[in-house]
Each structure stands twice: as structure tokens, then as C-alpha cells.
């Protein structure tokens, strides 16, 4: 552990994140962004979800479709079993770079590449899937060897007891500033645990289950997930929850001190208030 460095005004510069955590964090951020955008490109080829092994085209669970309105205007609609909602401009129909409304599940600014190109989307997706898995394996291996995963991410009994108060504090946008900011709070721990050990592994497993070759050898994986189309639907639900996590994560950083927190994830150093001096 590197030594703290006292600063003026009762503040201390502490070493918050190790170099491997910082490096894998940023590699992961870029990788997930590429996987999201190329994944949406792939989804544009058949923007409909089903449960089970096959696609019952007439009855998707959720689908994104372009429709031509009575006045000839192109509209985008998201349909699910219970109803439909007009999503023109974002889902189903959106303006391309030349300003023309075009029929596409996701807008050009949300797909990689921008124009519709399934082959290119797959090329980006499957390349970055490797980077994602290797980077994740490095993070987990380092965390396991240094016992960081257990000490940093697993909440203590005492922390779990006070989870209600932590939740209230977070909702009031009161974040730990002093000694408590040296480690993750219980809400962070639970969120990171869920992402690292549930959401991301589900993304990998549902991704693998969609491969017909992998399925030929590991039928059980696809069957446990409910069939190939279920795996595909779960892959999308997984990425949606991941996107929600990232949005909350970025919002929390923005609210709790973006400069200080960004620096801690880049240089490793975080400024905290000196609790003892303050007393």
C-alpha cells in the first residue's frame, strides 16, 4: 500500500486504484462500447425477439418495425405482446446522415458501422468479444490472486445491515467523502458484484449459446438458457441492464465529484477529507 500524502485544508491524497484495475477498467469501457454499437448493428438484420429455440415470426416477444403511415410517412414502432409504441426518430425509422428518414431498427449514431452492414458489424463484434473475455480474465485472475475480489467487492455483515441508510444517503446524493471513500460502499459492492459475476458472464454464455458450432458440442448450455432464441433475447436483456448500470455509474461519478473520481481511475489517486483532523 502506498503512503497517503497530506494536503492543505485537511485533505489527503490516497492511493485508491491499482494499475491493473485502472487499465482493465478503461479497456473494458471501450470494448463494451464497441460491442454495444456493433451488437445493435447485428440486431438491425432481424430486430425481433422470441422465447424458445425458434422464431415464430408471427408472434415475436418484442419487435421493432418500420410502418408507412396513411399519409405515406415512414414511422418506427416497437411492438410487444400487449401493445405498441411509436418510436419514430430512434427505433424503427430514423434519419440517416443525409437527413432522409430510413427504415432501420437503430439509428446510424447507435450502430457500428453507421450504415447498415451486417458482415462488418459481426467482424467488430467477434473481434472485441475476444478482447472483452481476455481483459475480463486478466481482471478476475489478478483480483483472485491478490484476494482483491473478496476484500473489495464482498460486503460485510455490518454493511448489509445498514444498506437502507446507504440507499437513502445515495438518493439524497450524499456520498462518502472521508475515510469511507477509501473503499467501495455497500451499494457499489453489490452493483459491481452483480455486473462482474452475473451480467457479464450471462452475456458471454448467451453469446456462446447462439453459435451453432458451440451448440453442437454443448447442447446443455443452450437448453439451460431456454433455447437459442431465448439465449438471444437474454443477450439483449443483459445488454440493456448493462447499459442501465453504465448510465447510473456515470451519473454517480458526475454527482459525487467527476474530477476527483476520474483522476482516481486514471492516476490511481483520490483526494479524501481527513476525518480525524475534521473532528
Amino acid at each position: 500500500m502506498r503512503a497517503d500524502k497530506p494536503l492543505r485544508n485537511n485533505r489527503i491524497l490516497v492511493h485508491r486504484h491499482g494499475v491493473l484495475v485502472r487499465a482493465t477498467h478503461w479497456v473494458n469501457a471501450v470494448t463494451l462500447l464497441v460491442l454495444l454499437l456493433s451488437g445493435l448493428q447485428i440486431l438491425c438484420a432481424h430486430p425481433a425477439f422470441y422465447w424458445g429455440d425458434t422464431s415464430e415470426f408471427a408472434h415475436p416477444f418484442v419487435s421493432i418495425t418500420p410502418v408507412t403511415a396513411a399519409n405515406g410517412e415512414l414511422r418506427g414502432v416497437v411492438n410487444w405482446t400487449e401493445g405498441a409504441v411509436d418510436t419514430t426518430g430512434i427505433l424503427g425509422a430514423s434519419r440517416s446522415a443525409d437527413g432522409q428518414m430510413s427504415a432501420r431498427a437503430f439509428p446510424a449514431w447507435l450502430t457500428l458501422p453507421a450504415e447498415l452492414d451486417l458482415g462488418a458489424g459481426r467482424r467488430w463484434h467477434f473481434f472485441f468479444a475476444w478482447i472483452f473475455v481476455l481483459n475480463g480474465a486478466l481482471y478476475l485472475a489478478d483480483g483472485a490472486v491478490r484476494r482483491r475480489l473478496a476484500s473489495d467487492l464482498v460486503p460485510t455483515g455490518a454493511e448489509l445491515k445498514h444498506i437502507g441508510r446507504d440507499l437513502l444517503d445515495h438518493l439524497r446524493l450524499r456520498f462518502p467523502k472521508g475515510e469511507a471513500a477509501r473503499r467501495y460502499n455497500v451499494l457499489q459492492k453489490l452493483a459491481y458484484l452483480a455486473v462482474v459475476f452475473i451480467v457479464l458472464p450471462v452475456m458471454v454464455l448467451t453469446g456462446l449459446a447462439m453459435s451453432p458450432a458451440i451448440d453442437a458440442r454443448f447442447h446443455l448450455l443452450t437448453q439451460v438458457l431456454g433455447g437459442r432464441q431465448s439465449a438471444r433475447t437474454l443477450h439483449f436483456i443483459g445488454v440493456s441492464s448493462l447499459a442501465a448500470f453504465v448510465m447510473v455509474h456515470i451519473a454517480m461519478v458526475a454527482l459525487a465529484g467527476p474530477f476527483n473520481l476520474l483522476r482516481s481511475m486514471i492516476t490511481g489517486r483520490l483526494v479524501i477529507r481527513n476525518d480525524e483532523a475534521a473532528q
Partner: protein
Amino acid sequence: MTSGPDRRFWLRAGLTAILGAGVAACDKLTQSPQVNQVLDGAQTWNRRLHGLLVGSRALAREYEASAISVDFRANGTTSPDSDDYQKHVASGFADWRLQIGGLVERPLSLSLSDLKAAPSRSQITRHDCVEGWSAIAQWKGARLGAILERAGLKPQARYLAFFCADTLEMTLDGTGDYYETIGVEDAFHPQTLLAYEMNHQPLPVAHGAPIRLRLERQLGYKMAKYVMRIEAVESFANLGRGKGGYWEDRGYQWYAGI
């Protein structure tokens, strides 16, 4: 300190510039041949990893008859418009012949009844389209491996090329004609068939009559429909635009097990 509106202007201008540069850079990247070559490297890793994990013998999952899809979408060409093909349809493929040549000891010319008399296999399997959808059907066909044993592959033969009756894109040089290539090992997989029957009926025109390839552990675009000629080759560099298939020539991966 800068006043509100001014700061907002610079913030917005800065963000727009960064986003614009990012988007432009991404578009440049996606078009760069070097970048695409690097990205395509993953295809080799996937094929090798699948080779290690899956092996050449694992069978695709087979289903009960009750799992057969009511609605099995037909993609690509659904009725080749050439006169020759339409004449075959009209005559029930009575004069149709499958030519098997290239790097083989004994070139073959097989009628539909020859194929039906060859060692066959029936299987109920799931068809996965590159677009993302899946459908299940029963397929019966001649085992490609048995046919190739009869023709006798020469040792140099590494790929089987399938030439089809359909033209998906009109071109002057004929590179819009559908074709596909598969590896020799996959050709001898027990579930690899020249299917002439779908759901206990003669293969419909929309699904590739009189025969389509079944290559169960890969995606639908590998499973050429309307197959007219099979050639054993050492390399596919000289076929079409050199990438090993109609869709491969247009950016799809040659290895479609993922």
C-alpha cells in the same frame, strides 16, 4: 469567470467537435482495409477455438417432430429466374444432373434418383440464419461424404465448392451467381447432406429444389440452395471474388460457426 450562455456555447461546441471527430474516425476505421484485416483475424481464432472445443465429430442437436417450425422463412433467392432452371421445375427435375468434378478421381453426373438411391440420412435440425432467426425442419438427403468417397477426392483437395442456379446480383463477370465453399472435413461430417426432402416433402423451390446443402453446425448462408455443380478445389482464391462464397465476397465471414 465565463458567463452562463457563453460557457454553454463552448461546452456544446466542444462536445459536438469531439463527437463529430469520433464518428468520423469510426467511419474511417470501418472502411480501412487494414483495420478490417485485423478484425478478420478473430475469424481464425474462432475457427481454431471451435476446432479445439467442438471437434469435427460433434453432432448438431436433433429435435422431435413436434418441434418442427410452422413458418420456415426462405431467404435469398426463392425462385431462380433462368430459363434452364424454370424448365427443370416444369419437368420435375427429370433431366437435371448434379455434376461432381474438380480434384476427384472419378467425375460424377448424378440424377435426382441416383442421389435418392445413395446412402442417406434424415434429421430434424435447427437452421440458424446470420440475421438472427432460427427455424426447425426435417431434412433428408444423400450424405455428402459417401458421394465424395464414390468420386474419390484427390489428396490436394481442401475445399468443396458448390455452384448454384441462382443469381442474387446482376453482374457482367458472373460474380453475382450464388456459390459457397466448405472445408473437406466438414463435407465428411455425418450430418452434412445434399438434401432433397424437407418435412417429408420434395424440397420446395423456395428452399432450393432440387437439392440444397445442409451443413448443420454453421449458419444458413453456407447451405447453398439450387446446387447444380460441386467441385473439389485446392483453393477458392480464383472463384467469384476470391473470398469463398457469394456472401463472403460481400463481407460475411467464411467460417460461419458463430
